[in-house]
Amino acid sequence: MDLVANLMTGFGVALTPINLLYALIGSLLGTLIGVLPGIGPVATIAMLLPITYALQPVSALIMLAGIYYGAQYGGSTTAILVNLPGEASSAVTCIDGYQMARRGRAGAALAIAALGSFFAGCVGTLLLASFALPMTELALKFGPAEYFSLMILGLIGAVVLAHGSLVKAIAMIVLGLLLGIVGTDVNSGLARFSFGIPELTDGIGTAVVAMGLFGFAEILVNLEHKTDRELLTQKLKSLMPNREEIRRSIPAVLRGTTIGSLLGVLPGGGALLASFAAYGLEKKVSKHPEEFGKGAVEGVAGPESANNAAAQTSFIPLLTLGIPPNAVMALMVGAMTIHNIQPGPQVMTSNPALFWGLIASMWVGNLMLVVLNLPLIGMWIKLLTVPYRMLYPAILLFCCIGVYSLSNSTFDIYVTAVFGLLGYIFSKLECEPAPLILGFVLGPLMEENLRRAMLLSRGDPTVFVTRPISMVMLALAAGLLLIIIAPNIRRKRADVFVEET
């Protein structure tokens, strides 16, 4: 069994003391920011990207991955106890989790969320491990035309599944692609869109864009509103769910895990969409839909399993194809590039210790989270009492230090501020920034593959439809677009997100 041997290699890497330590740091940090509303995994990973410079590549990736799935665990705590989504992907958990808490079942809700997440995390990791080999083999057959079409499919998928206006999301992608090609053109050596500023000839860092759009902009938007947070913390009596709750959550966890695993792989998917979809599904299949909104345990178990499963499986397209399916994975591309690793199918063969070590660490991290989190809940609740007025200056400081250390220049700090302002404007105009980040990361790759494909075909654009794999992908992309334009599906898509309020 190749898989077993590979996983053994992985555990050999993941279980070294130093990597255990970074998995722990990542998971705890992820839980922390998951618990705290107002800062999400994208901003945090962006903030920490620069400091991973000093680490071994595998330790760096283990830590950053831990932040993403750790945040899925932490988000549920705030949702259940305070009725606030600590993480966007826990927004639906608020609905029934908080109602359970009001009925004195907070402990049970927390335990079910954590155990469901753990189960989903294990399944997600296993899926990641088993799909890695076939997917990479497929990807190795890809030429530039296939890659270009794959990226088109990925980007279209991302907007179709994304929240909000389709046309605006496409525009944000194109804007991201444009921003991505700022810097020196690899073929001609020409500095494009650099305005004669030497710092811009190296391009803009992914972390800079992400910190501005997700970190700074979030603060600017939050400061407009009064941020009084009501804390309704009661003593947790018992963490043990009763038999009825267990009986009802098991099928919900299984469904949540399935839907989360599927949506995680899809471009534009990831934890957020997964939890919304899982909640909708639970409500639909339940024999007692009237209980939803009044503390139905399925409304906690399903979405919480789904978001964690999706957090794991969204690594599949990144690690095997080199295509990030969501904004967090786009930053992982940034993390890998910092360490001179080009994400894609070759990572598994050229760097098996890193590849399997990362996968194994996810299982280890999930185990740590479920063991550590439940006893630590009291501490996380204490953290929630830190008022936002003290939290956001700290975020600013860490962002500034992180950005500065990217290239030891204050120039990046100013660029981040500009992106913060831009992100604020985007939020006012209801333009989602996540597609922009995807476009930003894929910009240079798309241009490169387009150039190569057209060079190989001697300028004949039909190459994209005459090569079968490429054609299938473009057809899928076109199909997705057509489906979404059809009005009744558009209504359904709006329904999925309507639960948010």
Binding site: I51, A54, S165, V167, K168, I170, A171, V174, L175, L177, L178, I181, N187, S188, L190, R192, F193, F216, I219, L220, L223, E224, H225, K226, T227, P387, Y388, R389, M390, Y392, P393, A394, L396, L397, F398, C400, I401, Y404, S405, T410, F411, I413, Y414, T416, A417, G420, L421, Y424, I425, K428, L429, E430, C431, M446, R451, M454, L455, R458, G459, P461
Partner: protein, 154 residues
């Protein structure tokens, strides 16, 4: 502006058009090349045209679709927060991380309506010292901790 029924989309469309036009204008000087041998100007030009077209669609659609107004809160917090960040960039090479950090925390805290001098100063000092411990001693980042004239010639 009665005919703009969806102001958010209208201005979003204008913004995309502006970015697209800027890309086309700046990229105008870049060699286009041919389809087989694309120059540095080829891809940006496709993107620029695309962005202008989509922007126009978004803007025109806003005359038909109905949407809510753009709500602006007070702009002062934003100015203060962004200002404090820029100030941090300007000052940190000269006064070092500790002082610049305290400045950043105190000034940016003033962006909140619940600003308190004492609390902001204390948290500024604690966070700056903590940042030095973690980032400079712990992770070995290159950053001047104190003003250069205090820490000796460098």
């Amino acid at each position: 502006m009665g005919f703009i029924r969806h102001p958010k989309d209208f201005f979003a469309g204008l913004m995309f058009i502006a970015f697209g036009v800027a890309a086309l204008a700046i990229g105008n000087g870049y060699a286009l090349g041919t389809a087989a041998r694309m120059g540095p100007g080829y891809f940006p030009r496709i993107l620029g045209i695309f962005l202008v077209v989509i922007g126009a669609v978004v803007a025109l659609r806003s005359l038909k679709l109905r949407g809510t107004r753009i709500e602006f809160g007070p702009l002062k917090p934003m100015a203060i927060v962004l200002g404090s960040v820029v100030l941090f960039g300007l000052l940190s090479p000269h006064i070092g991380l500790v002082l610049a950090g305290v400045m950043l925390i105190v000034v940016s805290s003033a962006g909140s309506s619940e600003f308190r001098w004492k609390e902001a100063s204390i948290s500024g000092i604690i966070l700056s010292v903590g940042a030095v411990l973690v980032f400079i001693w712990g992770l070995g980042l290159q950053f001047s901790v104190w003003p250069p004239f205090l820490s000796g010639a460098r």
